[in-house]
Amino acid sequence: NAGVTQTPKFRVLKTGQSMTLLCAQDMNHEYMYWYRQDPGMGLRLIHYSVGEGTTAKGEVPDGYNVSRLKKQNFLLGLESAAPSQTSVYFCASSETSGGQETQYFGPGTRLLVL
């Protein structure tokens, strides 16, 4: 049981390049989330998904797209990377979203946009 895994662990991009971050969970969770973590700002929700085939915008969705084609995977895409997207990205999953559930986090992806 690997929990939540993220690939890659680290990436350097040039402005304007695109990339996809992959999140996978083996806990059969319905809900998945993408956050970004910036110094002094905690975690901010980018997009989330309440189930296979569904996605929704979070607090800071601009410049990102997501897809949830399979229940276990949640992809975060950057179509045209900008230096402002330099951050650490965390994926999380939870069983439901009634409010009581615990979120399980992946180890993070460190992205540097030059």
Binding site: Y31, G40, Q100, Y104, F105, P107, G108
Partner: protein
């Protein structure tokens, strides 16, 4: 608007002494409150949560937190700090709703440093 505040960027405590990491919240309904810990180069790990019932919640690694509705606080505490407790701690709040997903709001984090 929902919000959560961690007023201290850093807390320094000597090993063996009690520690407190502060958290206050602002929500329109009854909150669900969480504490997570982040060790270097790792994702967040769940410590404890308050949903309802007893205001004193016990969690992992000997940590506990007290829900105070009148002061809208949920401070994290431990009676005797360990050097291994040094990490970044996040308080989070969620208001339950009947929408498709209720989102969790994280505080900015407090770095806890325990000196030997």
């Amino acid at each position: 608007a929902q919000s959560v505040a961690q007023p201290e960027d850093q807390v320094n405590v000597a090993e063996g002494n009690p520690l407190t990491v502060k958290c206050t919240y602002s929500v329109s309904g009854n909150p669900y409150l969480f504490w997570y810990v982040q060790y270097p180069n790792r994702g967040l790990q769940f410590l404890l949560k308050y949903i309802t019932g007893d205001n004193l919640v016990k969690g992992s690694y000997g940590f506990e937190a007290e829900f105070n509705k009148s002061q809208t606080s949920f401070h994290l505490k431990k009676p005797s700090a360990l050097v291994s407790d040094s990490a970044l701690y996040f308080c989070a709040v969620r208001v339950p709703s009947y929408s498709s997903a209720s989102k969790i709001i994280f505080g900015s984090g407090t770095r806890l440093s325990i000196r030997p």
